[in-house]
Symmetry: C3
Subunit: 354 residues, 3 copies
């Protein structure tokens, strides 16, 4: 297989919905400052409950608005008291009577849905709310789930590569979810592409369930097991689980089995740092089981984080040096091709980029 370039710092895809945070991050009257795609943003929720994303830099003296306070339906700068509404328009300058129309900060489209806040960092006119991916597991009463936010010192595409190729499980996660390497390589991986969506799946029919599955759901015989990965820019969903063998798992009848659904929102912070907003949902609700799933997954992803940050050190030192693809990279290569195509398209003349 010819060598291909790894995730190097080739910039960002702007015209895209990214996860900006969890709805629970902001109670009414709260604000938080975060950087997305190199742009500082303040997220705040007004007293009436509306969320807003503005540039985190007062137009007067550049103080971050996130250092300020929410006052009713506005955010107030803590330096000289300028107040901005949820659209970024300044509505009060204490030191003067009139507020000029130039007194404003950039607003970013922000939508709250499925307990997630989605932000659009590109051209506002292109922000189409219907394009926001749904994640109904966050509202499905059959599931329990938990949200997390990791700050990764690595490029966002390294995270995509990591999640699109689970052949790393027996090595990085040998002590947690890894299991036997031979089992992982004895089965076929299917990778398909449908528009901008890439799907990778591995099925293990009539196989021995791993110990954690037995604990979670009480399997006594063989199971039909699945690992299904779905990439869309820039989100990865990983659905894993098992049902008793020959009970319809591969035709979609899975409610009688055991499912874990991982949501992975991957939002570039800078070229070399990434917000990783993830959740895991499970339908194994027996006493203490969900808490174990949450804890084990959180530990596992910290192992991935360590790897990504070490990769970044080497890649930053020699960003143009090619890397070697291997067979299991098929899914991540397809995802990268989707991203390259979209990023190239939005930079072409006629496209309005950020």
């Amino acid at each position: 297989m010819p060598g291909t370039s790894a995730a190097k710092e080739e910039g960002f895809l702007y015209n895209n919905w990214y996860v900006a945070g969890w709805g629970t991050d902001l109670a009414p009257g709260e604000r938080v400052g975060r950087t997305f795609l190199n742009q500082p943003v303040v997220l705040f929720r007004t007293q009436s409950g509306e969320v807003s994303a503005l540039e985190d830099r007062c137009c007067h003296r550049a103080l971050p608005l996130s250092f300020g306070m929410v006052e009713g339906e506005r955010i107030r700068c803590s330096y000289h008291g300028l107040e901005f509404n949820t659209q970024g328009k300044c509505e009060k300058i204490p030191a003067q009577d009139k507020v000029p129309s130039t007194a404003c900060v950039r607003r970013y489209p922000l939508v709250e849905r499925d307990s997630l806040m989605w932000i659009w960092m590109g051209e506002p006119a292109l922000a189409d709310e219907t394009a926001i991916p749904a994640h109904p597991w966050h509202a499905n009463p059959r599931f329990r789930w938990k949200s997390f936010h990791y700050d990764i010192q690595g490029n966002w595409e390294l995270m995509i590569e990591n999640l699109m190729d689970l052949s790393h499980l027996p090595y990085i996660h040998a002590q947690t979810i890894g299991g036997n390497p031979e089992l992982h390589f004895g089965i076929k991986t299917n990778s398909t592409r449908d528009g901008d969506v890439v799907r990778v799946s591995r099925h293990m029919p009539n196989s021995e369930p791993p110990p954690t599955y037995k604990t979670a759901k009480g399997f006594t015989g063989k199971v039909d097991r699945w690992q299904e990965i779905e990439f869309m820019p820039v989100l990865i969903r990983i659905n894993t689980g098992a049902c008793d063998a020959d009970t319809g798992a591969y035709e979609g009848k899975r409610e009688h089995g055991f499912s874990m659904v991982g949501f992975h929102g991957i939002t570039p912070e800078t070229e070399t740092t990434t917000h990783y907003f993830w959740s895991v949902a499970t339908d194994a609700l027996a006493d203490g089981v969900p808490e174990k799933v949450f804890q084990q997954t959180a530990d596992t992803f910290r192992e991935d984080q360590e790897v990504l940050e070490l990769q970044q050190l080497r890649i930053s030192a020699e960003p143009d040096r090619p890397l070697l693809d291997i067979a299991s990279d098929v899914g991540s290569r397809q995802a990268r091709q989707v991203l390259r195509r979209l990023m190239k398209a939005e930079r072409e003349p006629g496209m309005v980029a950020a």
Copy 2:
């Protein structure tokens, strides 16, 4: 009001007296290394009491002389024992008999006055000691005062802006000296310019004294209150206080009232860091009152420091992006104009800059 560029890193004004430190920083035989205008300087006091400022880099192997020791009237490098007098001339090289005339380090004019050490980082021939601003409050027996040295991670002009526009008081200092915002904006601000000196004053005649004023001086009725700011490159003096109403405060009769005089020596360390040498003097000498004034002022200025450092983060990210001026910026804009004119002048051909 048209947008103007904020304090961006446009360099330094070299031919100017700057505060290098407090006289009490150096006992005989002591030395300290500090950077001013990007140049490393060692300040030391000889055994006989003379102070000197030399380049903090031995001409032999570049070791900082501040790592060495004062020996009598010289400073000795700790690596190979070279000794330099207060003029920067090497007078001893242990390893050889003769000292070549090239063995010397740069000397900076340094003057000790009013408990302050003033340094001249520009062309030495232009250093005129009579141009050093006097600050007689440090020797006035009616006052007690205390000195401070803060290291600010922000550009020096941000500090000037901060002090020239006290309309930030009700916002940054809401918990300390801020008080009621409405009071601050209900009064007129006068700004005048006299050569390189900019003065901003606000008078609050026949007003209710703030609680701290009552505590400090026991006012029982209305007072004539003042806030007077004086900028000269690069120093700001802030005189605030009050007298019983109609007792002559605005004609200069203030000895029967309550005065606080702030001295603010603003010395660039680098483009993005600043030495802030400040003192506050008060004539309210009742038991415990000066200590309260010192502590409250120190706390207040830490709040300003936090703001400046956050501003610097945003400005460093986009140094050329314009900012918006508002009405209360009148004083700081005038100060900036003075600085721009002086900086431009010293860069013109014919002027010998550093």
Copy 3:
């Protein structure tokens, strides 16, 4: 003496044997990641005892191999399980059947000798093992010795300068081995050059032994004392000691006296950081004496480290600014000339550099 340029960041000498570590750093099955001449290297010892130096970056996804594990005679990457032999050839890719010939990482020649691991960072074809300097004191039963590894935040040539000019002893090491400055400057220093080897020696015949010498060896009368420094690229050996006066010390009969032999392996890590692998050997074996020698030397070299790191700060700020040579720089100047000549030679067309 004309001013000469100090150790500035002029790059590295590649075609040269450098100390990569101590043999005791690696037990069978262990690995460690280190950077030499800006190149990340993993050193590992296989289960059978062979040592190997490979590029510390997997060719697949750039993860440092030092984050992996030694498996038998190979090192395995911890991300997707690729295994490399001691020559850098990949012999296993778990996710696929065949291993392409492009799957390999760079190997660096590595030789273990005299308890040292020597690495060749330049053109492998030029690596001649017979050119590795011998250091028989590490295997001489008359001596006891101890090894150390300091990480210096300074350019490698600053360390050479430091060791080639011991006239710094009375200043930096006044509290430890320094002693009386006058004694150091009252004697003649000889500096000679023999090919790429520079030797500096100072003899103190019929002199009073310093207190530590008396303690170590029980001298009661005058001694013939020596300080002999030997530089070869890039290693410095310092032999100091004394014998009873007129007993043949200067003709090489020294076994009846007191000797300390310092080995100083100076390996650039980056332009501004250095691996300092050093040992000290002594033939004063009386109870507790070697331990005192080791501890005192370790403390002394920490003093040098502090100086070098402060020098580096000043030199990094103005790398092109000339420095002044003094009489005692004769040895370091000769060493620098050797290095400049070798570095220039290996950059010429026809020479294959790294």
